[in-house]
């Protein structure tokens, strides 16, 4: 009855504004978001730059223990460590932009190359873990929303509680013990294909590449090796997906427009598809995308347990070897991926929701 207290509820202008104004509006929006993206990436690179300088050991380690002071100074100059800090940062930034993440002292190859070889392994693991999560988290989440006290709700919440309570790396060990040692159903936790030859490289996803090359047995082996690590990781990604599905679907179910649709005798299937799921989907899709971006850096421990040759394992090995450039390369990359996905998700959100798009 009364106006909300800050912004008057004057309805917006009719749609169908002239074409170029819409494009201009979108232009401003995209520039705004891109500026934000660049700002966040700068901040991220500042953090990693700070870390590289704070380690303070590159010189000492690079030159070796018995080095004389002159050798250390010469090395320092070569590495440009004597330049003022901001100049070092701009060099660091230029290197980054050129994709030069420094050289790994363990593999003696450029860090960016190491990462490029290992990123697909992590990406494949994360993708399958999310697929596994979606298999149960979505249906159970929807069912739990419709029958809050029902069977699905109890199972879903139980699995979610289990997933949150059980550390992933420990669960991995348990699964290995049960399914490899005791039952022998799954392979030893030694990488992605064991000794089966790799399929020709197309995407870096062994499953996809094997299918593209028609090597069905390699595809099955790849799946066989993927199973345990993907299931382990899915216990981390599934609980939030289950919970957000349940809460956003039940929110839509309790809404007036669903009550209105049902009062007009609209078929249940249509009510679910066009009213409930259409409104409940955006938050779920956002979370799944963010989870993907997050797990790229979050699968570290599962990779260690299953010696899965991804960027997580690479970072941990580099850590043990004090190979800081490699570590920071991985940290930077996963942050960039996360922020990039965040940007895309934000954009898709605007496209899907007329309240944001049409205004």
């Amino acid at each position: 009855m009364s106006e909300n207290d800050t912004v008057p509820s004057v309805p917006s202008r009719a749609p169908g504004r002239s074409g170029h104004r819409v494009i201009a509006a979108w232009g401003r929006f995209l520039i705004g978001r891109l500026a934000l993206l660049v700002l966040v990436l700068l901040a991220v690179s500042l953090l990693t730059f700070g870390v590289t300088r704070a380690t303070g050991t590159p010189l000492y380690v690079a030159v070796g223990q018995q080095a004389t002071q002159e050798m250390i100074d010469a090395r320092a100059e070569a590495l440009g460590l004597d330049l003022p800090l901001w100049q070092q940062y701009s060099n660091y930034l230029q290197n980054l932009l050129r994709g030069n993440l420094g050289q790994s002292r363990r593999t003696f190859t450029p860090v960016s190359q190491d990462i490029a070889e290992r990123l697909p392994a992590t990406a494949e693991l994360v993708t399958f873990s999310i697929l596994v999560s979606l298999l149960w988290a979505l249906p159970l989440g929807i069912r739990a929303a419709r029958k809050p006290k029902g069977f699905a709700a109890r199972i879903g919440e139980g699995l979610a509680q289990f997933g949150v309570s059980v550390p992933g790396f420990w669960l991995g060990l348990l699964l290995i013990f049960a399914f490899y040692y005791l039952l022998g159903l799954f392979p030893a936790p030694l990488g992605r294909l064991g000794n089966v030859p790799r399929p020709p490289f197309v995407t870096g996803f062994f499953t996809v590449d094997a299918l593209l090359a028609g090597q069905v047995s390699t595809f099955l082996t790849a799946l066989w090796y993927l199973a345990l690590p993907a299931i382990t990781l899915s216990f981390t990604s599934a609980p939030p997906i289950f919970r957000i599905t349940r809460s956003s679907v039940s929110g839509a179910l309790r809404s007036d427009f669903v009550a209105a649709a049902r009062s007009y005798g609209i078929a249940h299937r249509l009510v679910m598809r066009r009213h409930v799921l259409r409104n409940a989907a955006p938050p779920v899709m956002n979370l799944v995308a963010m989870t993907f971006g997050y797990l790229i850096g979050g699968a570290v421990l599962v990779e260690v347990v299953f010696s899965w040759p991804g960027i997580g394992l690479y970072a941990v090995r580099a850590m043990d070897f004090s190979d800081y450039d490699a570590v920071l390369g991985v940290v930077l990359l996963s942050a960039v991926i996360y922020v990039a996905i965040y940007f895309v998700v934000d954009l898709v959100q605007y496209l899907l929701d007329p309240r944001l798009r049409e205004g």
Partner: protein, 319 residues
């Protein structure tokens, strides 16, 4: 004429509303509103949603900062003061909100909430003086003393609104600003609060501002009336006159609608576009003429009957 307790001069409040991607629209919530509230009188401020009436209250009480104009409380200008500078003036003005249940901290008892304004605004009072003052105002609003030490959750809407009025009166303010005090109450409770306000009006020497879209309620308590449309004052004057002989077409339509008369002035549907210049009601007004496009000033009506912002209202007087 004594200095008015509250005087608002040419108050402006513009919002930057983000309509859609990148399209930010400037909405003039309050667009040049002026009125006075002398002591001992109740000024009714009426208007529909989007008229800016609640925003004016928030500006007067320093809860939001207006983008233009002047607000004077007891002769001193308060709209440009910082929160710290405003604090000593707060004891002279208090507010009653629309939703009684939301205007009380659920964790505090009624007594503690009513005492809160005294602690800070009347720090010269010691604990006992505060306690007696709290008892005084709670009795004045006829709230059963068995409820004083209860939490808001255990009181009804009507009882809570009584307590809210007591809290507002506690520091003996010169101005009590009531923002839609009866709109959230049931019919049966509305009368109870209006009756209380009518009693207090005579017994308490303070100025009252009563904002509402419920014309019947305003009519029962208001001495003066200010009618708002889309952030502008369209008519102003003694309540009796305005209710009996409304001059501005919008006021006529509003009063007719309030009495469920369809034969009176009726307005066209509420369009989207606001006219750039001239009378904002023009797109909906049955008497609209080309000259409505020119800037309509608030012009005085004959012998202190008030003001109206429409050539038609003041023309019959001049002709």
């Amino acid at each position: 004429m004594a200095e008015p307790v509250l005087s608002v001069r040419d108050l402006h409040m513009t919002y930057r509303v983000r309509r859609s991607i990148g399209a930010v629209e400037e909405v003039r919530g309050v667009d040049g509103v002026s009125f006075d509230v002398p002591t001992g009188t109740t000024v009714g401020i009426v208007g529909e949603s989007g008229s800016g009436k609640s925003t004016i209250g928030r500006c007067v009480l320093g809860l939001t900062r207006p983008t233009g104009g002047e607000i004077q409380l007891l002769g001193t200008r308060i709209d440009s003061l910082s929160a710290r500078q405003l604090r000593p003036h707060r004891r002279h003005m208090q507010m009653v909100f629309q939703m009684p249940r939301r205007s009380f901290d659920p964790l505090l008892t009624v007594r503690r909430s009513v005492e809160q304004p005294l602690r800070r605004l009347r720090s010269e009072l010691d604990a006992d003086a505060r306690a007696t003052r709290v008892a005084e105002v709670l009795e004045a609003v006829k709230l059963g003393d068995d409820l004083w030490d209860r939490r808001p959750g255990e009181l009804s809407g009507g009882q809570l609104q009584r307590a809210a009025i007591a809290r507002a009166l506690a520091p003996e303010p010169a101005l009590v600003f009531l923002d839609e005090p009866t709109s959230a109450l049931d019919m049966s409770v509305r009368g109870e609060i209006l009756g209380l306000l009518m009693d207090l009006k005579d017994r308490v020497d303070a100025a009252f501002a009563f904002v509402s879209h419920d014309l019947e309620a305003v009519r029962a308590v208001a001495d003066e009336l200010v009618v708002l449309y889309l952030g502008q004052v369209v008519e102003q004057g003694p309540a009796g006159r305005v209710f009996a002989d409304p001059r501005h077409p919008y006021t006529q339509a509003l009063l007719a609608a309030g009495r469920f008369e369809t034969d009176g002035v009726t307005l066209g549907p509420r369009g989207d576009q606001e006219p750039a210049s001239g009378c904002r009601l023009a797109p909906r007004c049955p008497f609209a003429e080309p000259r409505c496009r020119e800037l309509q000033e608030l012009r005085p009506l004959q012998d202190e009957l008030g003001l109206a912002r429409c050539w038609k209202a003041t023309e019959t007087v001049d002709a």
